[in-house]
Structure formats: C-alpha cells, structure tokens
C-alpha cells in the first residue's frame, strides 16, 4: 500500500489514521445527536402520559399514507447511499455519483411530500396549533399538544434533512470532480453516516407520530 504517502494533517501519522479519526469523530457527534433527540422523546413520553386520550386523538388526524411512504423513501435513500460508499471503495466513481444523486433525489422527495404536501394539508385542515386549531371539544387541549410535538419534531428532523441534502450535494459535486478514490474518500463515509442517522431519527419519529396514537 502506498497510503503512507497520501496527504494528511500534521497531527496524524498517516492518511488512514486521519480517516479513522474523522469517522470516529462523526460517530461521537451522532451520539450527541441521539441525546438531542432523546430529550424530545422524553418530552413525548411526558406529554402522552399526562394527556393520553387527547394526545392519541390528535394522532388520528395525521396522514398515515404519506408518513409510511416517506419512511420507505428514507430507508431506500439510506440504502442507496451506502451502496455508493461500496462503489467508491471499489473505485467506481461514476456509480458513486449515481447512487449519491439517487439518495439526494429521494431526500428531496421526502421533503416535498412532508412539507409541500403533508404540512400544507395539515395547515389547510387547521391542524397547526394556532388560533384556529381545528380540534375542539374536551380533548382539544391535549390534541393541540400532540400537534405541537408533531410540528416541532418534523421541523427539527426536516432541518437535519436539509443539512444532509447540502452535505450529499457537496459529495456529488466533489465526486464529479473525481476527488475521491478507493484510498481517499473519508468525506463520503462521514456524510453517509450523517445521512443514515437522519433516517434513523425518522424511523423513531414515524411510530411516535403516526402509529402509537392511532387506534384501530
């Protein structure tokens, strides 16, 4: 291997040393993200615990179809990106670009479905917990809390998605300039970790928002 001759920063002994450190750093960052969303999940536990009936009543108004399709989309996106990582390791830059582009488009599809269609519907149905909130009656207050959680959770996840799209876009741009090789492609892996993590957050949010509160 000629990897000792690859460029690396002064504090590392080799490019491989640097690459593994960068990957470890990303994992640690994702651990902080776990705790960040963890606090949100604890909020869900509390909110549901104290307002169970209304909280679940709110969940009935979510759009199960879009939510499920979006979960499929994100799983597929995470899959196809990881295939791209495997391609660059085999030296196939062209397939990496294709895979990353597919992942990027799937991510965009998620955002369009989520915010362009689903949120717009929700607003049209006055499900946004504003002055004209649609759910009245005895359970209205608790249902409002559900939708506060819904909008907050999806918005935070959406922001992470946007960040991910920017990063994946950057990878596509660099890959098209042939900057990655089997020996040097750390950014591809690091961005992939983040992209899959955003998927993981959604996998947890999906039952919390769409399934648990939905009675048969």
């Amino acid at each position: 291997m000629s990897e000792t001759y690859l460029p690396h920063e002064v504090q590392y002994s080799s490019a491989r040393h640097q690459a593994e450190s960068a990957i470890s750093g990303m994992w640690l960052f994702l651990a902080t993200e776990v705790l960040f969303f963890g606090a949100l999940f604890l909020t869900w536990i509390y909110s549901r615990h104290w307002n169970q009936a209304g909280f679940d009543a709110g969940a009935q108004h979510t759009n199960l179809a879009i939510g499920t399709v979006n979960t499929v989309i994100l799983l597929a996106s995470s899959f196809v990106y990881s295939a791209g990582v495997a391609f660059i390791e085999a030296g196939n830059t062209r397939r990496l670009v294709q895979c990353a582009a597919a992942a990027w488009l799937l991510g965009l599809a998620f955002l369009i479905l989520k915010f362009g269609v689903e949120w717009r519907d929700d607003f049209a149905k006055h499900l946004f917990p504003g002055a004209d909130f649609a759910i009245h009656g005895p359970l209205g207050g608790s249902a409002r809390i559900f939708f506060e959680f819904y909008f907050l959770g999806t918005a935070l996840h959406g922001l992470h998605m946007v960040g991910g799209l920017v990063l994946v876009g950057w990878i596509i741009w660099r890959a098209r300039r042939a900057e990655f090789s089997p020996a040097l492609h750390t950014p591809v892996i690091v961005v992939g970790l983040y992209w899959s993590f955003v998927d993981i957050v959604w996998i947890v949010l999906y039952p919390l928002l769409y399934l648990v509160g939905r009675g048969p």
Binding site: G38, L75, S78, S82, A83, V204, Y206, L211
Partner: protein
C-alpha cells in the same frame, strides 16, 4: 458486502416496516401501543449495522455508538421514573371537624 446482500437487508427493513404498519391496526390496549416501537428499534439496528457499518472502522466507533444508546436509556429510563410512579398521597378524608 455485496450489493445483493445489501438489497436483502433493505428488504428486511421494509418487511419490518410492513409488520409495524400492519400491527398498528391490531386492537391493542392504549398502554400497550408503545410496543409498536419494537420493529422500529430493529429497523434502527439494521440501518446502524448494515448501512452505517458500525462494525467496521476502529473499535472506538462501537464504544461511541454504545455510549449514545446507554445514555439515551438513562435519560428515558430515569426520566420517566417520576411520572410513571408519581402517586400522590390521597388527601385524607376522615377528620372530625
């Protein structure tokens, strides 16, 4: 990992999603419904091990992943201990006035 094997894992994740989706239509007690999260946890495990390849790279990667999950457990476990056990002593009623 071959692309073919990777596809199989995706299929498994989608199967789990289908199970989760289907199970949500079963009549279930409200207190039991959070069990729907079990397939979700398995999906998370799939994404983590297959797409993120937690098994590859230096050992410290596993350490960080486990640490994140362990601390999440602490937060959710000890955090929900209070509301789940918050029994208020009933304000007693027998008093000769």
């Amino acid at each position: 990992m071959t692309l073919r094997l990777r596809r199989l894992w995706l299929a498994l994740a989608l199967l789990l999603l289908a199970i989760e989706f289907g199970a949500s239509f079963l009549p279930m007690d409200r207190a039991m419904r959070p069990l729907l999260l079990i397939p979700a946890v398995l999906m998370v495990a799939t994404v983590g091990t297959v797409f993120m390849e937690v098994g590859r790279g230096p050992a410290v990667v596993r350490l960080f992943a486990v640490a994140g999950l362990l601390w999440l457990t602490i937060l959710l476990g000890l955090g929900s201990l209070d509301p789940l056990t918050r029994t208020d002593y009933p304000v007693q009623s027998t008093s000769p006035q």
